[in-house]
């Protein structure tokens, strides 16, 4: 197969349907080609990230250590003990997804090892869903790598249009894109078609437009840690709608355009500068003062 430059989701879908293959097939061949390596060498690099994500879940589940600021770090353990007595309304996969999301996010803020996906602040949204569902449904490592490549391809196409930095486009570009990537990974994992995968991306992203980045004390803690758990679940909603052939009436490329425009229109005070929103609430200001001491 010859290399074909893909810069929009329309290009990607067109190529998938033309060649009758799925997203990761096209993506892995293109990436290997660009880096001048073999496809299996490329997959080995992806496997390294997947394995590091699995390790982050394991270490996160074991720890209760607080972050450097002392504001966060023990919520995963709270959730674990809650689920040991009573089960989640939505069943064990749901329990695992939210528990793993907090485990990885808390591991991040206590300076543990994680995989930025796409950023460190949004590092739990893709792996929590990917790993929890794969464990519960006994999905092979090969299929998990396929799904992670799919997620990476989604992030790549978005990032070549909009910077995935909270300071540039707000949290919609970090946790929002992570949730869209996670929806894509899950749809791939559950056997969705390229069209369904891209609908999942559009649906997830569309419902997070305008998400602000207003972290308390300027740290990747409040609201970032818990937001990872919320947006992991958000990805599942997008995936299920897409698998049911619910279409996003606004095509995914146009959703990305809307996100770019929204990011530009958002006040810089709500883009990682901690000058407004949650970061300037009474309690946040009090926390900031006590940290300075």
């Amino acid at each position: 197969m010859k290399y074909k430059s893909i810069s929009t989701f329309a290009d990607l879908l067109g190529e998938c349907e033309l060649q009758e293959v799925t997203i990761f097939d096209i993506a892995q061949k293109n990436e290997a080609n660009l880096d001048d390596i073999k496809v299996n060498e490329f997959r080995k690099i992806v496997k390294k990230s997947l394995n590091a994500m699995q390790d982050a879940v394991k270490s996160g589940l074991k720890s209760k250590e607080m972050s450097l600021s002392g504001m966060c770090g023990d919520d995963c353990s709270r959730l674990k003990s809650f689920y040991s007595d009573s089960h989640a309304l939505f069943g064990t996969i749901f329990e695992k997804i939210v528990t793993y999301a907090l485990a990885i996010s808390e591991e991040n803020l206590r300076m543990g090892k994680i995989v930025a996906c796409p950023t460190a602040g949004s590092c739990a949204i893709v792996p929590s869903v990917l790993i929890a569902v794969s464990e519960e449904k006994n999905i092979s490592e090969k299929s998990q790598i396929d799904a992670l490549i799919t997620a990476g391809e989604i992030g790549r196409i978005v990032s070549n249009k909009v910077s995935l930095a909270g300071a540039v486009a707000g949290c919609q570009a970090e946790c929002g894109v992570a949730s869209a990537m996670s929806a894509a990974a899950l749809t791939q994992l559950l056997g969705g078609t390229p069209r369904q995968i891209l609908n999942a991306v559009a649906l997830a992203l569309k419902n997070l437009l305008g998400l602000t980045c207003d972290p308390v004390c300027g740290l990747v803690e409040i609201p970032c840690v818990k937001r990872n758990a919320f947006l992991a679940v958000h990805a599942v909603t997008a995936c299920e709608l897409a698998l049911a052939n619910v279409e996003s009436k606004i095509p995914v490329d146009e959703v990305v355009d809307a996100m770019e425009q929204t990011g530009k229109l958002m006040s810089p005070m709500l883009k990682e500068s901690s000058q407004a929103g949650l970061a300037k609430t009474k309690t946040a200001v009090r926390l900031e003062k006590s940290l300075r001491k």
């Binding site: 993506a27 990436e31 660009l34 880096d35 490329f42 690099i45 992806v46 390294k48 990230s49 590091a52 972050s67 450097l68 600021s69 591991e107 991040n108 803020l109 206590r110 300076m111 543990g112 090892k113 994680i114 995989v115 930025a116 996906c117 796409p118 950023t119 460190a120 602040g121 590092c123 893709v126 992670l148 490549i149 997620a151 990476g152 391809e153 992030g155 790549r156 990032s159 070549n160 910077s163 995935l164 930095a165 300071a167 540039v168 990537m181 004390c217 300027g218 740290l219 990747v220 803690e221 940290l291």
Partner: protein, 223 residues
């Protein structure tokens, strides 16, 4: 501009919590270590703006020191670097500044070795991407994406072509190049980003070119 790849999106494997404030700090430290490339006796880190105000909570200080000591972004020793064995033989201190003429995530490394002193300035520009902008008073651009040849020399006729000819003879392509000088005939800098690997012998040869003061070959960082 360099476009993102899938691997950029699903990496790096790093210690948290922030790609710009933690992983970026380690990468800046690593680049400064390679630029100095000599035993470091004493170092002062001067952190600016967001690096100064939110640096402690993000482990920016720990990241910078860890990079200077040669640890990678995924090294779990970063968290406990202060007071660890690896940090025993270096005298380090931190200063926190506000200067809105500087980038929000800027840092100066003021380094003293046995008989070499250097001030290296860098910025963490987002998603773990970094740039070394200044060495002493010279503008440079070192990102860690390319093998980079850095030369400080006395501005004089033919130095640039001598160096680029040596690179050409190695069949290595120059990706980009920038030069700066304090004045005609004064000290100047040359910063060359390369697509391939340079034979270390060429680096030695450059040391012997007339008027050349300092040569550094800074290898690209692992992503």
């Amino acid at each position: 501009m360099r476009q993102s790849s899938i691997i950029d999106i699903i990496s790096p494997i790093m210690v948290g919590p922030s790609s710009s404030h933690t992983a970026g700090a380690v990468r800046l430290g690593l680049l400064a270590r390679h630029v100095f490339n000599s035993h470091i006796r004493k170092i002062k880190f001067r952190l600016y703006n967001s690096y100064a105000t939110t640096g402690k909570g993000h482990g920016t200080d720990k990241g910078l020191l860890s990079g200077i000591l040669g640890l990678g972004v995924d090294d779990t020793r970063i968290k406990n670097i202060f007071g660890s064995d690896i940090a025993q033989h270096i005298e380090y201190s931190f200063e926190y500044m506000e200067d809105f003429n500087r980038h929000p995530n800027a840092v100066d490394f003021i380094i003293e070795g046995k008989d070499l002193k250097m001030t290296i300035s860098g910025e963490s520009i987002g998603a773990g991407e970094v740039v070394i902008r200044k060495i002493n008073d010279f503008n440079v651009k070192i990102t860690g994406h390319y093998n980079t040849l850095l030369i400080l020399y006395k501005d004089s006729v033919g130095i640039i072509s001598t160096v680029t000819t040596l690179i050409q003879k190695e069949h290595v392509n120059i990706a980009s190049m920038s030069c700066d000088r304090s004045g005609k005939g004064q000290i100047a800098s040359m910063c060359i980003s390369l697509d391939g690997e340079l034979n270390e012998k060429i680096v030695d040869v450059c040391q012997y070119i007339k008027h050349v003061h300092l040569v550094r070959y800074i290898k690209k960082l692992e992503s």
